[in-house]
Amino acid sequence: MTGPFPVAIGGTAAGQAAPLLDVRGLGISFRNGPSAVQVTRDVSFAIAPGEVVGLVGESGCGKTVTGLALMGLLPRATSLVEGDVVLEGENLIGMSQRRLRQRRGAKISMIFQEPMSALDPVFTIGEQISETLRAHRSIDPREARERGIEALARVGIPEPALRYDAYPHQLSGGMRQRAMIAIAIVCEPRLLIADEPTTALDVTVQAQIVDVLGDLCSRLGMAMLFITHDLGLVAQTCSRLVTMYAGEVIEEGRIDDVLVSPRHPYTSGLLRSLPALAERKTRLPAIPGRVPALGEIPEGCRFRARCSFSRSPCEVSQTLDPVPPAALVRCCRHGELALKGVL
């Protein structure tokens, strides 16, 4: 078996077992003066216990905002969130801040791209880990320290007892990212949202961090939503892939299926523009145009303007249709198109 990641225990999109996380019709808008700008619309997907799901798309497609909404981290004063985010049977949308705080860190955690801005520079790593522990468990300081050092060891930080008392600036980029992961997993959450966790890191350090995350998923039985624009990383880490475009989920499927035979022209376009897989020195098939800006989302299929397959049926809003056995696609022409994947 390649890669450190376990094969998903749970089912696929259809979901045989009860999913750990069930996102249904998630729509996010930002208030902009008297009006509101829609950022995502009808985002739905599920994650089974222990499953690793990739969320991909270009910048501005709504990936990070979706991750923040799952955590309940969007500012309530300026954002409108509709739909349901059901984690272990509880809807996080509309939950009181107090109860939400009890879930965050304990059941659902998130790590970010830039560990230096996510860590507080004036507190030691240890203080930041024990803060999480003491928020969720009644635990004495000495035990918190032991558990914190244990968490640092678990994410592969050498000399964890020493690093526990270090400040973020004393650690390298890779070590900071490990420290942030340690904070996120110290209470053994059921779901980790990893938002571009390795984008700021070198490729050899990225490989280490990906191994750490994979190891944690299999040892703790933790599920992960891996948000990235790197399709190579998704292939290596995830069992299922959700593609977003302009605020909508446009395709979902098992990773090995999607890589070989994507159903949506956008997913196909992303895969084909990868230089690593193209014939050397040949012209890369790029996707013309760019992601529409917020507030400039076109009518009908949102990808239509950039799609070489668009026809008149694409002028109406597209639905996310099931494709047996385990995929979903938002393209009315998916049945007639034979799209190229990575091969």
Binding site: D202, V203, T204, A207, Q236, L259, P275, A276
Partner: protein
Amino acid sequence: MDTSQPTPIVAVENAGVHFPIGHGQVLKAVDGVDLAVMPQETFGIIGESGSGKTTLGRAIICLEKPSIGRILHAGIDPYSLSARELRRHRRQYQIVFQDPNAALDPRMTILKSIREPMDVAGDLPDRDRRARAVELMERVGLSPDFANRYPHELSGGQKQRVCIARVLTLRPSLIVCDEAVSALDVSIQADILNLFAELQAEFGLTYIFITHNLGVVAHVSDRVAVMYLGRIVELGRTEDVVLHPAHPYTEALLSAEPVALPSQLRPDKRVVLKGELPSPISPPSGCRFRTRCRFAQPLCAAQEPPWRETAAGHWSACHFAGELPIMSAAELHPHKQRESASRLGVHHE
């Protein structure tokens, strides 16, 4: 130099860039590098942050003066020129940076940014400068409507096109592309890489492509150099280096690169390096990579490895180059070995 050989457009001869950092310490960002880039070649430099690849790129276009050795431009040492000659000379050697937001002045219109190099050079009459700027805007795929807009009104990809247009205004012969596509989304990145290829054919450009992205380097480069802690550890034709790496560090880089392939076509094993890049202030003795190398021997700590040619045009700095059980092409790139791969369907169980 043998006169029958074409003169390299850039020849780096045992060059180093050292920065004093106080307390009598010296950071040797680049330390004893030799390479030659031929006209109209695309030469890739790959390495992690801290490897010295950006400093080397800057030294090549006279943004840093070598502390040791020299860097020749078409046989000429630019530092032997007078200040006035140097200013004129270096127009031939341009650079495109990673972050177009930082490279463009937010208070200048796009047209002004593009024509600025010509305004500074002052060779052309005003009307010709404007005409050339507009012509280049169109050439790099920017609508003339953008001429009076400001950088904040453009996307990242469009801004990078502006930066490319502006370096072309002085008709350079060599462009250093320092992570020029790293900040872009993959579909935009593909667009810009295509543009670079077209411009190379059209203007006879030489590129030095500096990046940490192996996929990009392998796609565009004729030859590639791998840097580690200020030194080049391997250099050769791209297909040789990618398929048959001679240095354990190159092997690790190739192995760490995640490839978007289904599980049955991905490598079965990976080499994951331990630890991180040591400090360039006090690099390890002997071979600088030995502290992370899976094949390190006592010899590696005692002696610096020689720079030698293990196959025609394929150089590396490893005591044991050619003798190590480095992963083979089939192990590193199983999909390239399986021609039947394209016929592999999706298996639904």
